[in-house]
Symmetry: C2
Subunit: 227 residues, 2 copies
DNA sequence: GGGAGAAAAAATGAAAGAATTTATAGTAGA
DNA sequence: TCTACTATAAATTCTTTCATTTTTTCTCCC
């Protein structure tokens, strides 16, 4: 597949003209990361901007006492990295770690800023992406603030289903190496609690779990758990 | 003060040239809201975009079982409203309610989209604003996920201090009608718990509270509470 | 302008409930 | 085999829930 066709499939670049895309592509560099590898760290200066072509990346923040919080799970087509442009906030406020082997496009902050002013359509698109991130974060805030652990885990499972789930008959298959630890770090609880809830639901037949896979057998059950 | 000078003070418009500003101002309309008044509701279609000139606005989400969560507190210079442009997400995902009497600038979605493509500098600025919202939301996510109630309330007090606090000798004065209920809705706890913690801290001399005012007497104490 | 009554906000205690902590053990990939 | 992940249980801690009281603010009326 040509580079242009490749780029056209990325949400951030929809609406851009082919001749614009041709000029833009040169600024991006493809990079690959192994499962578990870190892409950049909280505090890194100017990590640049990343677009996921393939794979799953978790964006995490750590507290001073060593707790880890996953603030976002970025998947194919998603944008992450340092987006505060023209601000004196020089360093990343989160760490990016690949959850699977991953392929990404990378661009430096300065190059991206240059593109932004040159291609207004791109600026509109990135605004749109940023807004989606805000609304998604607000949804998570609501879940964390208003729901008990079961509701929060149900929320996250449904979010995962929406983002990376594949329908297979009656069930939705989430094929990704997401551990109970990850679920706990997304929902603000402990591994033990995440394990207890997941295994209870498995026993009760609402979900099924295997290595690197979570199947949702009863969506309605999960939806009803959310207040 | 002329309209142009007025606009130049708004963060969203910094970096725009005077002749650009002159053209832009016409698209914005000034509106005023009384304390407690709703600006728009979750589900409203195309509420447009608002910039706060004066006052404090809370952005809230409600759960199906009636709980309210304050996802953001917007203050002077902040932008809020429907920002997903060119997307098929036609309605607001949160409610905006003024916490004080407020003065805002308003622009319709379509007008704003027009401005964006016409003035790339504005697009860069709005991207920047959106990113700040994301990072702020992630900070809150971390707090909600990793900290106990005391730490969460401490976090919010420090956030308020940073946003709207005024130094007065050793203390920081937060002059705003923020109730314990509001604090609870920002930190995902109950009024009773918020009241208990605030009055305990008051007794212990770390904070002082009066009608429409919270004073932080010991920043270090609050900072130490945050993990 | 002041006072009465209503409404809203703050305060507090006891009991119940939810989730964490701590501990221990089994399982499956690498 | 070793490490990371999953599993389960009991005790403890934190927070909520429910019930009641006090304090403050608002508003209407004289």
């Amino acid at each position: 597949m040509g580079k242009i066709e490749y780029f056209q499939q990325i949400p951030l670049f929809t609406g851009l003209k082919v001749n614009e895309l041709e000029k833009i592509t040169g600024y991006f560099h493809e990079k690959e990361y192994k499962k578990g590898e870190y892409i950049f760290f909280e505090g890194d200066e100017e990590p640049g901007i990343y677009i996921i072509l393939e794979g799953l990346v978790k964006l995490i923040k750590e507290t001073t006492d060593g707790k880890t919080v996953i603030v976002r799970l970025a998947t194919k087509g998603d944008v992450f990295g340092w987006l505060v442009l023209g601000e004196n906030r020089p360093s990343s406020t989160y760490t990016a770690q690949s959850l699977t082997n991953a392929k990404v496009l990378h661009i430096s902050n300065t190059d991206f800023l240059r593109l932004l002013t040159e291609y207004p359509a791109l600026a509109v698109r990135i605004t749109c992406e940023a807004t989606k991130m805000v609304l998604e974060a607000y949804e998570r805030l609501k879940s964390l603030a208003a729901e008990k652990v079961e509701g929060r885990i149900a929320s996250i499972l449904l979010e995962l289903a929406r983002k990376i789930g594949k329908e297979d008959g009656d069930k939705i298959v989430i094929k990704a190496p997401i551990t109970r630890q990850d679920l706990a770090e997304m929902t603000g609880t402990t591994v033990e609690t995440a394990i207890r809830i997941m295994s209870k639901w498995k026993k009760e037949g609402f979900i099924n779990t295997e290595r690197n896979k979570i199947e949702i057998l009863d969506m309605d059950f999960l939806e009803d758990l959310i207040s």
